[in-house]
Amino acid sequence: MSAPQSDNKVSLPDVEALFETLLGQLKPRVSHAAGMVGIVTGGVWLAERLHAALGLRAPLGMLDVSFYRDDVGEKGIKPQVSPSQIPFDVDGRDILLVDDVLFTGRTVRAAMNELFDYGRPARIDLAVLADRGGRELPIEPLYCGGRVDVPKGSILMLDRDPRGVMSMSLSSRRRQRGAGT
C-alpha cells in the first residue's frame, strides 16, 4: 500500500480498511432491490466497488450535484459537470446514497434535492467512506467506514490511480482528481 501524500503531518487512514468496514456494515442490511447512487467523483468510484460487492440488481446511478449546490452564487459551477444518470425508477425505491468524504453535509443535501427531481424514493440512506465531522446540516450517515480527523481548512479527498487503486490525500487547495475516470 503506497503511503498517502499530504501537506501536513496528519496520518491518513488506509482506504482498503475503511472500505472493508463499510462493506461489512452494508452487507447484512442492504436489499438487492435497493438503488445505489454515487456522488461524482469520489463517491462514484466507491459506489462502483460497493455495487459490485453487494450484487445489487439495478444498475448504478450517479449524481453530479453541481446544479444543486447552495454556493453556486459565490463559487460558480465547476468547469466539468458530468451528466447525472439515474438508470432506474426512483419512485418507491430504497436508495443508498454513496459519497467518499462527509464534511458539512451540504453535498448530501444537494444530492437529496436532486434525487427528488427524479421521483419520490421510499427512503434514502447515506453511506460514506470517511466522516471528517464539521457538519453544518442535520445529516448523519447510517453506514460509515470510519472517522478521520483532519485540520479544518484542509481538503480530504479520495484519489484513484490508473490501476483502480484508491487512496486518500490531504491538501490545502482544490485540485484535479487523479486519473482513472
Binding site: G43, Q80, F103
Partner: protein
C-alpha cells in the same frame, strides 16, 4: 486585449460575441450544455441554479424562437422571467435605451437577454451595467452568439470532433449575424475547412481573413462537406439590387436533394430558422433524414441554460482555474 465579456479572472461575465473568446470558454459552455440536455429525460426538468434571480428578456426586435427558448432556458433554471417587447413600449415614447435599462435594473434585474436591430447595443448595455449580466440574443448584422454555440453543439453532437470537418455555410453571409457567429465558433473550435457559399454580392470581403474559403458555385461549395448550414434569405433583401429573385436564388443556391448528394453521405443539414421552403432549402431536404434543424432548437435550450448558469456563477470559477481543475464538491 481587454475583453469586456470576461472578468479579471478570465471568467465569463457577459456573452456579447463569440469573437475573441478563448477556446476553453466555448468548450466549457458546450460541456455544461451537455449535462443540461440530459435533464430533459427527467420527471422534473428544472434545476434550482437561478432560483430567486430575475432574467429580463429585452427584445427590441421581434423574435419567436429565440425569445421562447431563452424563456424556457431561464425557467428550467428556476429563474423568474420577464419578457419585454420594447418596440411597442417606452422607446416609442422617446425614452433612451440606457434610461430603459436603468429603470429595469432598479426593478432588481439580475440578467438581461438583449436583441436589438443596432449592432453593438448589447455591448453598450453591458458597459453601462456594473452588477448584471448581459447576453446578446442577436444585434443587427453583428453577432448572435448563442446561435453560434448551439450550431457548434449540434455539430459536435453528430460529428464528435471539429478537427477534421468541412462545413459549408450557404446563403446571405453578408447580412447574417448567425453566419458570423458560427464562423467564429467553428474556427475557434479548430474546424479546418469552413466555407461560405453564395452569390458574390452576399459574401463579405473579410471572410478570407477569418480563414473562410468562399465559393460562388454551389456544387463546388458543398462537395464532400460534413455539415451544410443553410441561412435564411431575408425577404427584405430580395427586393434590393443584390439578388435577382427568390426563384433565381433557389435555382443557383437552394439546397436540393441532388446538391445534398454531393456532400458526404452522412452530412447533416442545419438551418437557424425560420425557413423559407423553396427559397434556400427544398422541403425534401428540410424534412429529410439528414436534417437536424429541429434538434438545433432543442439543443438551443440547453446551450442557453449553460450560458446563463455560467454567467450567474461568474463570481467563481474563472478559466485560469481550469488548469488546476476542481473535484466534485467533496468536503463540503
Amino acid at each position: 486585449m481587454n475583453n469586456p465579456q470576461l472578468n479579471d479572472r478570465g471568467g465569463l461575465r457577459h456573452l456579447l460575441t463569440i469573437e475573441g473568446l478563448p477556446r476553453e470558454t466555448l468548450v466549457n459552455i458546450l460541456d455544461t450544455a451537455r449535462s443540461f440536455v440530459s435533464l430533459s429525460g427527467r420527471e422534473v426538468k428544472k434545476v434550482p441554479l437561478l432560483r430567486g434571480k430575475s432574467v429580463f428578456n429585452l427584445f427590441f426586435e421581434p423574435s419567436t424562437r429565440t425569445r421562447t427558448t431563452f424563456e424556457i432556458a431561464a425557467k428550467r433554471l428556476s429563474a423568474d422571467v420577464i419578457n419585454l417587447n420594447i418596440q411597442s413600449s417606452s422607446q416609442s415614447k422617446g425614452e433612451s435605451l440606457l434610461d430603459t435599462i436603468d429603470n429595469l435594473a432598479a426593478m432588481h434585474a439580475d440578467m438581461f437577454v438583449v436583441r436589438h436591430s443596432q449592432s453593438g447595443a448589447p455591448h453598450l448595455i453591458a458597459r453601462h451595467l456594473t452588477r448584471q449580466n448581459v447576453i446578446n440574443a442577436g444585434d443587427g448584422r453583428h453577432s448572435h452568439p448563442t446561435q453560434g454555440l448551439l450550431d457548434a453543439y449540434t455539430i459536435r453532437h453528430h460529428k464528435k470532433d471539429f478537427s477534421k470537418l468541412s462545413v459549408a455555410i450557404v446563403g446571405d453571409v453578408l447580412h447574417s449575424r448567425v453566419a458570423r457567429s458560427a464562423i467564429h465558433a467553428l474556427t475557434t473550435l479548430g474546424t479546418p475547412d469552413v466555407r461560405a457559399v453564395g452569390p458574390r454580392t452576399l459574401l463579405p470581403t473579410e471572410l478570407e481573413r477569418l480563414g473562410v474559403r468562399t465559393y460562388t458555385d454551389m456544387a463546388a461549395g458543398v462537395r464532400d462537406c460534413d455539415v451544410i448550414m443553410t441561412l435564411r434569405l431575408q425577404n427584405e433583401r430580395m427586393q434590393g439590387p443584390l439578388l435577382p429573385s427568390a426563384q433565381e436564388y433557389f435555382k443557383s443556391y437552394g439546397l436540393t436533394p441532388e446538391r445534398l448528394a454531393l456532400a458526404k453521405k452522412d452530412a447533416i443539414v442545419m438551418h437557424p430558422g425560420p425557413m423559407n421552403r423553396g427559397v434556400e432549402i427544398d422541403s425534401a431536404v428540410a424534412d429529410g433524414p439528414q436534417s437536424v434543424i429541429l434538434q438545433q432548437v432543442t439543443f438551443g435550450i440547453a446551450v442557453r441554460m449553460a450560458v446563463m448558469a455560467i454567467l450567474a456563477g461568474q463570481g467563481g470559477y474563472g478559466m485560469t482555474q481550469t488548469e488546476t481543475g476542481t473535484s466534485s464538491g467533496e468536503n463540503r
